[in-house]
Amino acid sequence: MTVHGTRTIRVDTLARVEGEGSLYIKLVGERVADVKLKIYEPPRFFEAFLRGRHFSEVADITARICGICPIAYQMSAIHAIERALGVRIDPRVRLLRRLFYCGEWIESHTLHVYMLHAPDFLGYQDVIAMAADHRAVVEKALRLKKVGNRIVQLLGGREIHPISAAVGGFYKTPTKQQVRDLVADLEWALEASLETVRWTAGLKFPDFEQDYEFVALRHPDEYPFNEGRLVSNRGLDIDAAEYEDHFAELHVKHSNALHSVVRGRGSYLVGPLARFNLNFDKLPEVACQAALDVGLQPPVKNIFRSIVVRAVEIVFACAEALRVIREYDAPAVSRVEVPNRIGVGQAITEAPRGILYHRYALDENGLIVTAKIVPPTSQNQKRIEDDLREYAAQLVAWPLEEATWKCEQAVRSYDPCISCATHFLKLVVERTDAGI
């Protein structure tokens, strides 16, 4: 079928999202003429807001940047400041931080897999419509997400904007019994997550593979959360302190967000696919086997399959949480005292949707001189556009409404902080007759 004329896929903005986004794709005949993904809300306000604040306030402030991944923001901030100040933490505090991150991954991945992404594959407008036909599935998702929430509440100290994590440790650490009280829930969650892997693997995926540069942390002994070298499948192998030497942020006219690129190469992919492909050998046996049982092994190059990889990472997070709980003893001192001093520190941690880079410069009074935050969604933004350019070209012959739906689904595969927007977007269709 030959398609003439100019067609525009436009997905406008709606409020009430962590970041507001819109999508614009211009098709001229069978050619994709333009792709613009607009993200309006980089964390520049917070970078400015942090200047002049004492480093002890940073974890609390950065936790408010994102309602879904406050732990990631806290962890990157705390690790960067600890590096700036030369702080060494108790190994038991390190274990607790891994448990903390497990909670956030379980919460965030479960929300995305079941409530934001699954409706796409099953043909529902949203999870509310899906729940009418798949009540047990949604009930299971709510229970699974709550297990993550319990971990975050226990370690974070309250229900939202956790306040317990601090430079040097935690303001308050749980007792051995308190973490052991999580075991029954986590054992159930592990089984539920294994079912989730099988359930997601049974969905139908578009045939769409791309040659990505995958970028993720890699640690010698474990699937990455807070530590490791930053590596890629194209030879990158750097410390967090070298991040800005190897990655650049480019201003683009159509978006307030900055486009991140690997210097000299271009777009790259962060998040579950990158972690899975670069760290498959570090997954615990139960997660590794769950992936292999459904035929999932690296390299996974189809972004739509990220829903299955997220499910595998929920398995990992449950298994890792149980491991930590088995090993945990409350530290004698929950938090080491950290004196003020001049320093610069960078850290990268693995937020649920990909690497989150923080850099802080501190003065002699421990006050923030400069702060830099590069969130995963802005790092993936150029890659999303590159994917849409390829994907939209496959869709030129489709009815516009279906093509738009499929493009939205592609965007949601990245679990961007704008995924919420794309579920409620109003579509504006513009058509131009052939010959124009």
Partner: protein
């Protein structure tokens, strides 16, 4: 009675629900704060039979307007809050209806907001509305404790 204030106080008027909860706490009344994300809300009110939720809304009404509705009224075509990721209070109610886990009594107060950008100050009209909603909740609690029949004000 379970009282839940939703939002993010770092985002201007989106902090309205949180500030109502904090105002009530200042008065010695127990109130939770939540992001307003739907799954979290459903779990928060699961098992409770009398729940009040407060959130910022965008309906096109004048800023600072207070609206109150219960889930058995037709849900207004609004989206609550600027801060939740994906699904908010309205979706929590719809989803809970489908899953048949709505509290026996649930009232939502929506405070019309205007400014939701990170770091902006809360609108003066919203500030006044916060006081109004706190007063209305206190009045309802008092009426409830005096054994009077509750009325949705």
């Amino acid at each position: 009675m379970l009282i839940i204030g939703c939002g993010n106080r770092q985002r201007g008027d989106d902090g309205a629900g949180i500030l109502v909860a904090e105002r009530l706490r200042d008065l010695g009344i127990s109130a939770e704060t939540r992001s307003g994300e739907a799954a979290d809300l459903i779990e928060a009110w699961r098992g409770a039979d009398d729940v009040i939720v407060v959130d910022a809304v965008v309906t096109g009404a004048p800023v600072g307007t207070v609206q109150a509705w219960d889930p058995w009224q037709p849900l207004p075509s609004v989206r609550t809050s600027a801060s939740t990721h994906g699904l908010g209070v309205a979706e929590a109610i719809e989803l809970a209806q489908v899953l048949q886990c709505l509290p026996a009594r649930l009232q939502v107060y929506g405070i019309e907001g205007r400014r939701f950008e990170p770091g902006v100050k809360i609108s003066p009209e919203v500030q006044r509305a916060i006081e109004e909603v706190a007063r209305r909740i206190v009045a309802r609690l008092n009426a409830s404790q005096q054994g009077k029949s509750d009325s949705f004000t």
